[in-house]
């Protein structure tokens, strides 16, 4: 590390959680600053020496504390300060006038620095920038904005060293390439050196590895930390049984409780907030010893979360049920057991979570996985084997997004006038933007200036204008101020405050705030529906402005269940392992007896597919006909596939009525049988062409994605001086904008950006494409009399999920209408698809 620093080289330090990475990242800076002597008050050397950037606000204060210990103990004259969105205005001003030696902050603050006037001189002395937890941020929009900010800093301070700290990942070269500044072709992989004691080999590359990131830039030294003792992972098989179906792990709660009782401090990870609520309630229902068990997820009020974190740090708690909010590396206390109470979804995530237990390298971390169903049992076993083999999940290639670039360009114009050629050179030297063409860049600048419309009527309102020497600068101080209020690439879903309601006359008045929840959660609710939130059962009453009004409910069993699906789809590499395990009968022996019997029964009643084959089963049930397939490609890709298959089935005249997906399988049901269909034609990859396009255009997911792009690019401002637009209003008006823009300028830059985002994120189109290619000519069709053992989990879900698509909205309106319209009623009775498909 120190050697790399003295050579002025950029570095990527890859080490597991708890390896002391963060301090290692600062060490060269501390040495340089200690040797420097007193800091000049003005002029060269008076600016910030080292900038530390963390994706979590809380981490900056944590690191500040940890950094101050050695500085104080050695008696170094080094000035350290942190700065986040919560920092007081007076302190911010002081930091501007008297820069600290080391400034600890977040990527959003860096974006704000880039939009300051005077940013260039403020950072002229910068020697080093340290990026913490880079694995958690590099491949998204926040990563794009961060990287563009680094490019800016590198222009201000050309000698600046970049140091990134990452948890163990499958392919550090991808992050190294992201980190490296500069455009010239990359000549080697960077000099590798091993830290003493690191005897670890590279994880093997998978045959299914995606295309490589366009590499380039200056060399980055990759340093691998000590991997520490391998973790001890057990799988909990409750009383020797694994349930057929389910996703909550409810059956195993008593044993989870026992495990908590035996351990000192346990973290229980689940995959969704609603599952966290459910498990928390189940544990308290049997908490006869009154163990202090707490709840932590992103919807709870911030102060409540801080309370839980503080209690953890003091060692006052025995267990915390949490979501990914506790994935990242803050040291909250001595955790000695991690329970993964849901399928792990990916080996990397599992390792990260297990790393939360026991921050001592010489002792193994302990973890317990609890499968909620038999497929999850396979997934848990696969994840356990992957961790034992150090096989991590690979991430898909990420290309820099243009809405994020638009925000950065506006920021640059707010800071100082820029010349097109200079800024293009700077941006295209940033990792994610190496492939950016000059024409794309021009298009982005046009978007920033006047919205990028073919109808050029907004020139006189332009937000950035040309100076006499041809440079671009912000129109006026007010426009710059508004941009600075809207900086950042985190667009949170529109949320509502959940408030306890009291009745005043006819009206409901919102009282105490219980927390925040995404607006979409309340979308399907009608007044009186009960649900669990913040560990209690509530009755939904009404939405008033930005508040969801609720009252205490007496029910023990809420009507709205915890969400079935997982937020994260199963990783591709884990899915590959599960498919291989199903094919390999010798491998079955590591599984519990009832899971083995289930697999044998499947072989007897239907078939066991080999790893390259897609098993498709068809069978009648009740008055309907079912088609169930097992692609193991994750819920997102399956959902997209179902949307497209039902379109085809509709055209084939079989009358599809609905579908449901899990991470492992999908089921479609219809009026007419599907046994006689040409399945190879049905699963033909060309569905990713026009069918995808036309469905996507109508999809509510596209509208949601477009909203994010419009907010990030600055086309819509969320905050305006003295008038914060509520999330609700923003959602509504971007839908209108989307509709008008789609009709009048379908090739608008933001529509293209939103389409690309939706394809990559919400729809997992790339993964679906790989799947469809793989199974061409490899479909095994089983025509059955009755449901097979494999299809039970997906059938159990039927009736809980909805059909999406444009038609569904009309059906809901129809279903809510008065029955005076005979034609509608007859259509319903005659069983037109529209009548039933909304189930």
């Amino acid at each position: 590390m120190i050697a790399a620093a003295q050579a002025g080289a950029h570095a990527l330090l890859v080490a597991p959680t708890g390896g002391g990475k963060t301090l290692a990242g600062f060490l060269p800076s501390l040495i340089e600053l200690a040797e420097r002597g007193p800091k000049p008050a003005t002029g060269p050397g008076s600016g910030v020496h080292t900038l530390y950037l963390s994706p979590l606000k809380a981490l900056t204060t944590d690191v500040e504390r940890n950094l101050m210990i050695p500085i104080r103990e050695i008696g170094l004259n080094i000035h350290v300060e942190s700065r986040t969105g919560d920092t007081k205005q007076s302190k911010r001003q002081r930091q501007r006038d008297f820069p600290p030696d080391i400034l600890l902050t977040t990527p959003e603050q860096l974006a704000l620095f880039c939009a300051w006037d005077g940013a260039r001189s403020y950072f002229a002395d910068l020697q080093c920038v340290v990026l913490d937890e880079v694995h958690a941020i590099w491949s998204g929009k926040r990563g794009d904005l961060l990287n563009l900010g680094l490019g800016r800093l590198q222009t201000f301070a050309p000698a600046m060293r970049r140091v990134a700290l990452s948890a163990t990942v499958d392919d550090p070269d991808m992050i190294a390439s992201w980190l490296a500044p500069g455009n010239p072709p990359h000549t080697g992989e960077g000099d590798r050196e091993a830290v003493e004691g690191a005897g670890r080999t590279l994880p093997p590359h998978h045959a299914t590895h995606g295309p490589l990131l366009p590499v380039g830039g200056d060399p980055v030294t990759i340093i691998r930390g000590d991997p520490g003792a391998p973790p001890v992972i057990d799988v909990l098989v409750s009383e020797g049984h694994v349930p057929w179906a389910g996703h909550t792990g409810r059956h195993a709660i008593p044993e989870v409780y026992d495990a908590i009782r035996r351990a000192g401090m346990t973290l229980i990870f689940v995959n969704t907030r609603w599952q966290a609520e459910f498990v928390f309630q189940q544990l308290w229902a049997i908490n006869d010893d009154d163990l202090p068990i707490a709840l932590h997820h992103g919807s709870l009020a911030a102060e409540q979360r801080r309370k839980v974190e503080a209690a953890m740090a003091r060692g006052d708690l025995r267990a915390v049920v949490c979501t990914s909010t506790l994935d990242l590396g803050i040291d909250w206390g001595d955790v000695d057991l991690v329970i993964q109470l849901a399928a792990p979804k990916g080996a990397s995530r599992l390792v990260q979570r297990i790393g939360r237990a026991n921050h001592r390298l010489d002792e193994p971390s302990r973890a317990l996985m609890v499968p909620a169903s038999r497929f999850e049992m396979l997934e848990c076993q696969a994840a356990r084997e992957a961790v034992a083999e150090n096989a991590f999940d690979w991430e898909p290639v990420h290309t820099g997004t243009l809405d994020t670039l638009a925000q950065h360009v506006m920021g640059c114009a707010c800071s100082e006038p820029f010349a097109m050629d200079d800024l293009y050179a700077e941006v295209s030297a940033c990792g994610p933007y190496r492939g950016l063409t000059y024409e794309q860049f021009e298009e982005v600048v046009d978007l920033v200036a006047t919205g990028g419309y073919a109808l050029r009527t907004y020139e006189r309102f332009a937000r950035i204008v040309r100076t006499r020497d041809g440079k671009w600068k912000v129109r006026d101080a007010r426009t710059a101020q508004r941009h600075r209020m809207n900086v950042g690439a985190i667009v949170t879903a529109a949320t509502l405050n959940v408030r306890v309601a009291s009745r005043r006359g006819q009206r409901l008045i919102g009282g105490r705030k219980v927390g925040e929840a995404e607006e979409s959660y309340f979308e399907p609710m009608v007044p009186g529906d009960t649900f669990i939130f913040a560990g209690q059962v509530w009755a939904f009453q009404a939405i008033a402005g930005m508040d969801a009004l609720v009252t205490h409910a007496q029910d023990k069993d809420p009507k709205i269940p915890s969400w079935g699906g997982s937020k994260f789809p199963m990783s591709t590499s884990l899915a590959d392992r599960v498919r291989a395990m199903i094919e390999d009968r010798d491998h079955w022996r590591v599984l519990p007896p009832d899971v083995q019997e289930w697999l044998e029964l499947q072989e007897e009643k239907s078939a066991i597919p080999d790893a390259e084959t897609l098993l498709v089963e068809t069978f009648p049930r009740g008055s309907r006909h079912f088609l169930v397939a097992y692609p193991f490609a994750g819920g997102l890709a399956h959902g997209t596939l179902c949307m497209l298959l039902t379109r085809r089935l509709d055209r084939l005249g079989v009358g599809p009525l609905g579908f449901v997906v899990t991470d492992y399988s999908l089921a479609i049901w219809s009026i007419k049988p599907m046994d006689g269909l040409d399945l190879d034609a049905l699963f033909e990859p060309d569905m990713l062409g026009d069918d995808l396009e036309s469905w996507l255009e109508e999809s509510f997911m596209m509208k949601r994605t477009f909203r994010n792009c419009a907010l990030i690019s600055g086309l819509i401002e969320k905050r305006q001086p003295g008038n914060e637009k509520t999330g609700r209003q923003v959602t509504f008006s971007t839908d209108l904008i989307y509709d008008v823009l789609r009709r009048h300028q379908p090739d608008h830059l933001l529509l293209k950006t939103a389409r690309a985002d939706a394809a990559a994120g919400l729809l997992d189109v790339a993964r679906l494409g790989q799947l469809l290619q793989r199974i061409q000519g490899h479909i095994r069709h089983m025509h059955l009399e009755r449901p097979s053992p494999f299809c039970v989990p997906v059938l159990v879900q039927i009736g809980r999920e909805r059909v999406g698509g444009g038609q569904a909205a009309e059906m809901i309106l129809d279903a809510s209408a008065y029955g005076f319209d005979e034609a509608d009623l007859i259509a319903e009775v005659m069983g037109e698809p529209s009548a039933e498909a909304a189930q």
Binding site: F461, E523, R743, Q745, A808, A817, Y818, A823
Partner: protein
């Protein structure tokens, strides 16, 4: 629908997908577009066009697409083609702000004149556009009035409290929301009890106010009908199903 409301409205489905109702005895069609068609007077009424809302935002630095006036006029033109009205009445807030007429693209302005040719064209004043109408009366086709009577109907931009038989108003941008099968749907809607009506906003960039808001629901003594705009038909929604 209760018997009294059914009798007052005497609703029937038109082939166009619109809903034929009776307001204070005057036969009208609630059109899918959000406009009201008064049969016996061959009069088309549309509220809250908010033309040039996009450019109003652009002038303040938010570059909303400049296509909203065009989109709104496309829809108005389609209604005029379909119905060939003798009179078109715009029920106020036809323009988003006082400078809207001046900001209008020349071809959009020309289209307004073309649509108005050969028929009576009446602008009612609204709170958003009273200044625009006063300043630009010469640049616009037709005439400007504050309120208007049409048979049994009383046309005004902003609905007035109390009992107002025959009142046809806009201003409130009513929208209805229903939820079923795990998702909710929200659409602009007419609200009427057969005695008075509030029209949905016709403009492309107009938001909505929930019909159950006291500002709307309070205008009616008994639960009225919310008629939501579907893709190709108007859905008469049960008040108790709204949420």
């Amino acid at each position: 629908m209760n018997a009294a409301l059914r009798q007052a409205l005497s609703p029937a489905r038109c082939p166009s997908g619109g809903l034929r109702v009776s307001i204070e005895g005057e036969p009208c069609v609630l059109r899918c577009s959000g406009a009201l068609w008064v049969l016996n007077h061959r009069t088309l009424i549309a509220a809250d066009l908010h033309l040039e809302k996009g450019s109003a935002f652009a002038a303040r630095g938010q570059m909303l697409p400049p296509y909203d006036s065009r989109a709104t006029l496309d829809r108005l033109e389609a209604e005029i083609e379909a119905l060939r009205p003798a009179t078109v009445i715009l029920l106020g807030d036809s323009f988003h702000d006082s400078k809207s007429v001046a900001r209008m693209a020349p071809d959009d302005a020309a289209r307004l004149h073309r649509l108005a040719a050969g028929r009576d064209w009446i602008w009612l004043e609204g709170n958003h556009d009273i200044a625009a109408l006063a300043d630009s009366v010469d640049a616009l086709p037709g005439e400007v009035v504050e309120t208007l009577s049409l048979g049994a109907l009383r046309l005004i931009h902003e609905p007035q409290p109390g009992e107002r038989p025959g009142e046809i108003a806009g201003h409130l941008h009513p929208a209805a929301r229903v939820a079923a099968h795990g998702r909710g749907v929200r659409r602009p809607a007419f609200v009427t009890d057969g005695r008075r009506a509030v029209l949905p906003a016709f403009g492309a960039f107009t938001g909505g106010l929930d019909v159950r808001d006291p500002a709307i629901a309070g205008l009616f003594a008994e639960p009225p009908l919310a008629a939501a705009l579907g893709r190709d038909k108007v859905h008469a929604l049960a008040w108790e199903r709204l949420g």
